[in-house]
Symmetry: none
């Protein structure tokens, strides 16, 4: 078993100036190699504390990957600290030195003396070439622990790891076996309800593993299977997916990087249909999310942001008496908005969102009271009522997502 | 001295599904409180390894802040682990339990038994209310070390820390007005141009420090002053700010958490004016951002998302010959869109966005070609042309921000 720890070195991380996206990238890559990551550590540009972090990692990991601290300045001390801890000298790598000299010659800049420091490597280490910057990476194994040092800038680190780091790890740890993973995306069901429905499957998980994650009103399940044979790993995933979908398939809308919006566009394009929206509480969010997808113009006509009753009445033809008796936050208003925006924009589908985003109540309704209307050419209009909770932002975002979810349901039913 | 360590709990971080943005947020906040952060640690949903991480942190920190692992599932074990380590019982917080029950009642969902777990707190801990979710946070000091437990979702954690966590830390560590900071927000000028204009000031910085950060087409400068006397710290900030604004004040639109959108709403409300928008390439983004601000209804009428030429023609009255000769991506089209949406929505200001978001060219124009029209009741309409670069997302976002920037300039000039 390979157990990895990722140590990011840099005071800018501890000041919150940047997020540790290097650890995220490396974790994804290592998961794909079948390597367990049990800890991430972030430490500043301080030799004593870095030494402490390395010593702790040595007690619990057999692969320690460092990012950052390979540069030319006095603050960069990753190599120097590890050199001291392992009792390995730093020696100049001639090829790296020539590359650094060539870089300065090419950019017509004088090479200051401190840049030579970047060509120093731990004696006996394999050099990982930096094709996007100056400081090379390196890797070596001492007393059963493999140390890999990578530069901090993601533009240098990522290609270095993919091209040289990962193959090194495959070799040193004799990694064969395949890891296959698949993300199932759910909407309309909460994380705890989903877990309750799948409790026995999640408890019994081993291969594939099943990892739930909640985010922005959605829940995802990441299935990860390990097998020597790739086809067999895929079969394990198919089997687990089938067991899951038998129970909660109704709420599963897609896979991996799909979103409710890309899925909605896809379904509309399959039919050659267009959509128009009338947005009150969402204020343009639904159309904005749809049109954020390249190629949206094939299926999106446009729509009206009817934030005030005046716009609902004058632009979208909702009669004033209806607004005065039923209110804007009502089933008949949602119905008319969806139907009228559809005809006005000459679209196949009209969708409407009217309700209370908060923080204050509206027309006597609490925040989260929402009506979503769906009008399809030649069919009866449907209106869905929601009672959402959360912040103004959460209510608006979920409302737009529910719009996609209801529309996808409607389109699936009418197939 | 307060030395903090941030421990994020969650296997999704170790799988690289998300980046540890919570540690970034908290690090920024702690820096603002004058608290040193020396380590970040990430550990999975595993009691043994979490225990190990806590024990390591206890040897080197007197403030340990945890994020994540407070939810309802069996994977959530932060409280339970700390309870065991500190020998503190978990007890039900009645107020938190009532809030959770109310949440389920309000959303018409059955409350599963495991949700009650979220109302458990460490005996004797101060409860940090969760106003955006269910699991409360908590904080307590045992044997000279303060433990603060916060939920994982940033939407819950951030407001909880700001409103309840930071005041708790100020109290327990007797932090008084030693650190004052102020963020100046710039738009319309690049990071390197700003740094060049301020090079000598940035080089000579010590108190206050000046830290530039570029993000989403904006640049911010964070000024941080340290002084025993709060009034003196503020004076140092005022002095630095004045020196900066003398040079680049034209591009400075606001302070701290202000955005171009909140600023635009503020200026409109001051005049009692309303705004309407016609959005082509932005697809609703401008109105969505404006209406994301609570209270936007006082100044936002609504508008039209005119993604297709059909909608530009039929809903917004742009004559077909104009679309055929000048094109949709043109100065006269932007002008008419702004004027017509203003009158249609009976607003004081009409603003329009038409152009090419990409990735493909449109009407022979490269991505980033954008026209922004501004029509104000009783004044001449103005149209601004932009040549932006970047991804589809970046072009759309910057276009909407330039809309605010031009409108703020126009309003300031016409005062």
């Amino acid at each position: 078993m390979v157990n990895a720890e990722i140590i990011a070195v840099g005071s800018e991380l501890l000041l919150g100036q940047i997020a540790n996206t290097n650890a995220q990238f490396l974790s994804q890559q290592l998961a794909g190699l079948g390597i367990n990551v049990y800890f991430h550590t972030v430490v500043g540009d301080n030799a004593g504390r870095l030494e402490q972090a390395v010593k702790t990692a040595q007690t619990r990991a057999n692969l320690i990957i460092f990012t950052g601290g390979l540069g030319p300045t006095k603050d960069d001390l990753t190599k120097e600290t590890i050199s001291r801890l392992l009792g390995r000298r730093l020696v100049t790598d001639e090829e790296a030195l020539r590359a650094i000299e060539a870089f300065f010659a090419r950019t017509n800049r004088p090479m200051t003396e401190n840049n030579k420091k970047q060509a120093l490597i731990l004696e006996g280490a394999a050099v990982l070439k930096n094709e996007h910057g100056m400081a090379p990476g390196m890797a070596l194994t001492v007393d059963g622990i493999t140390y890999m040092l990578l530069p901090g800038p993601p533009k240098e680190m990522q290609p270095m790891f993919t091209k040289y780091g990962a193959p090194f790890l495959r070799g040193v740890f004799s990694l064969s076996g395949r890891i296959e993973s698949r993300v199932l995306r759910f909407f309309g069901i909460g994380e705890s309800a989903l877990e309750t429905a799948l409790a026995d499957l999640i408890d019994a998980q081993s291969n594939p593993t099943i990892a739930p994650l909640a985010n922005d009103g959605e829940v995802t399940l990441r299935l990860t299977a390990k097998h020597q044979d790739q086809a067999e790993a895929k079969r394990l995933l198919d089997e687990a997916e089938a067991a899951i979908l038998t129970r909660v398939g109704r709420y599963c809308y897609g896979y991996n990087d799909e979103t409710l919006f890309t899925k909605t566009l896809e379904r509309l394009k399959e039919r050659g249909w267009t959509i128009a929206a009338a947005e009150s509480l969402t204020g343009g969010l639904f159309l904005e999310q749809l049109t954020a997808v390249p190629g949206a113009s094939a299926a999106v006509s446009g729509g009206v942001v009817c934030y005030t009753n005046g716009v609902k009445e004058h632009l979208l033809g909702v009669p004033r008496p209806l607004l005065e008796t039923n209110g804007a936050v009502s089933e008949p208003c949602a119905r008319l908005l969806a139907e009228n925006v559809r005809t006005m924009c000459d679209a196949d589908v009209g969708i409407s969102f009217t309700g209370v985003a908060g923080p204050d109540p509206l027309e006597g309704h609490p925040p989260g009271t929402v009506y979503v209307g769906i009008a399809i050419r030649g069919r009866d209009t449907t209106v869905h009522r929601l009672a959402l909770s959360g912040t103004r932002d959460a209510i608006r975002t979920r409302t737009a997502k529910y719009g996609c979810f209801f529309l996808l349901e409607t389109l699936a039913a009418g197939r």
